[in-house]
Each structure stands twice: as C-alpha cells, then as structure tokens.
C-alpha cells in the first residue's frame, strides 16, 4: 500500500511555485498534487517554525503541548502521545524530556501498570499555549485566502487520497 509517485524534476522556487506550476509539464495533475502537498506542508512548517522559535519551542514540542491540552486534564501515556503526533517520531520520550526541562510538562508513573508513564501539562505549559493563542489570533485572517467551501473540499480530497 505504498505511494511512490514523486516527480521533482521540475524547477520550483519556494516563493514562486504558484507561477512556475502553470508553466510546468508535469506528467499529470496527480503527480503535481503530491508535489504540491509536500511543498505546501513545507511552506506551512516554515512559517510555524519561525513563529514558535520566539517562544523557544519546536513545532514538535508545540504539537505535544496541544495534544496534552486537548486531554483536558486526563493523563496520557508517552505511547498515546506518540500515536497522535503529526510526525511519527520514535523520540517522544526525549521530546517530552525537553518539555519537562522547561517545566512545561510533568511525568507521573502509573500505579496500575508501572511500565507506563502518564504525562500532564503544567500550569506554565498552559500559560505558554495561551500566550501563543493570543498572538496567533491576530494572524488568523492570513489564512483567509481560501473560502470555507474550499477548505471543506480540500479536506475531502485529502481524506480520499489517503483513504
């Protein structure tokens, strides 16, 4: 169940994809779509990284903090976090360690299964997220370039693609 269509041989300057893409001779729209998804994700990731850097956390660390906040107080194990991360990474343990060093998370050993370690977000962690939320709200409209209908359509197609 692999997907192996990756056509990168066309010239693509980061900032000019939208222009270039019209001139290209991609073998097909599908190939172009794969490239477009990877490219757009990289573009989004870049923005995110630059923004979060001001708060001294990586996108991965931010991702984990959001997962923890989403738990609304319920603990979640290291494994649980790993499964929910955007980039499946085998380093959830070390990643959480970094967050602990920054006093943003805490570890609690499960009494019923002492192999497991429950992770919770600290008050400081929640405050950091709140701070980031506020800053992000101002910028949210930047994403207004597509309509809600288009966003829905985008989601539908991406889901189908992976489905």
């Amino acid at each position: 169940m692999y997907i192996h269509i990756f056509v990168f041989e066309i010239l693509l300057t980061q900032m000019e994809l939208e222009k270039e893409i019209q001139q290209t001779n991609f073998k097909s729209q599908k190939h172009k779509a794969v490239l477009n998804i990877l490219f757009t994700a990289s573009w989004l990731g870049c923005q995110q990284q630059r923004f979060l850097k001001e708060h001294d956390i990586s996108p991965q660390q931010y991702n984990v903090l959001r997962i923890l906040r989403g738990q609304k107080g319920n603990p979640i194990t290291v494994n649980g976090i790993q499964e929910r991360m955007i980039d499946r990474s085998s380093n959830a343990s070390r990643l959480i360690d970094k967050l602990k060093e920054k006093k943003l998370t805490e570890r609690v050993i499960c009494e019923n299964d002492r192999r497991q370690v429950d992770i919770v977000i600290t008050k400081l962690g929640l405050e950091l997220l709140k701070e980031i939320d506020i800053e992000m709200e101002d910028e949210e409209n930047t994403f207004g370039k597509i309509t809600i209908k288009e966003a829905e359509e985008l989601n539908r197609i991406l889901d189908k693609l992976r489905g």
Copy 2:
C-alpha cells in the same frame, strides 16, 4: 505574511485520521485543512522514505537527483539546486557531497565565475533513477484513489492558499 493556525489538540492516530477526522470538533474547516495538509505530507513522506531506503538514498537526496535529471544535461549550481528543493535546506552543499561520495553526481568549477560550482548527475545517478522509476511504475496506480478532476481541484486550492 505568516500563518499561525495550528490546531493539534485533537487526537489523531496516524493510520486513522480519516476516521477520527469525522468525529472531531475542529474550530473550523480551515484549521482542519492546515492539519490535514501537514499530516498528509508526513504520510506521503513516510512512504517515500521507506521506499527510497532500499536504494540507500534519502528523500532529500532523491529530490536533488530528480532536479539534476530535469536539467537534461545542463549544469546547475549548488544555489540553483537549493532554490528548487522541496525542503529549503541550508545544507545543499553537504547533501551534494553525499551524492558525490556515492558517485551519483559530480562537481565542476565554473570558469566564468569561480565561486560557483556546477553540479551534474553521473551515468550511475541516471541509472539509479531509472531503476527507481521502474519500481515506482508498478505502484503508480495506488495513487488512483482520487480522480484527475479532484487532483486539479486540489492543486488549485493549494495554490490559492499559498498565493
């Protein structure tokens, strides 16, 4: 011109996004779209990585090789390659070094501007790409889950989003 809407607090298991996504209470379809793009790109990247590993090259290295092949014999500088890469990375130099070690590329110093280094793909590099092409062709239909019309629509929306 940043994009800062990243809602990750919903539970998302890699293999089950398509199920989970229907149950989620994302703030909006737009937020969901950002997550969906990042997630799908990660999913695509994973497939790619596992496949390419059998040929002992990384996705980034593969990306560079395709760019070089796309040059159809014309040389391209390190900087030129860097601009065209999917993941803007400041390490094009070292990346190309790895390819050189594997005899897949060669460096040629430009005579008209001796700061520049022209890179070309070797016969061995082209052979490797050919080999990968053949293996990929068998799998291409896997990407047939969306129609060409949908692929076009996907491209249109992604372009608009970045535009």
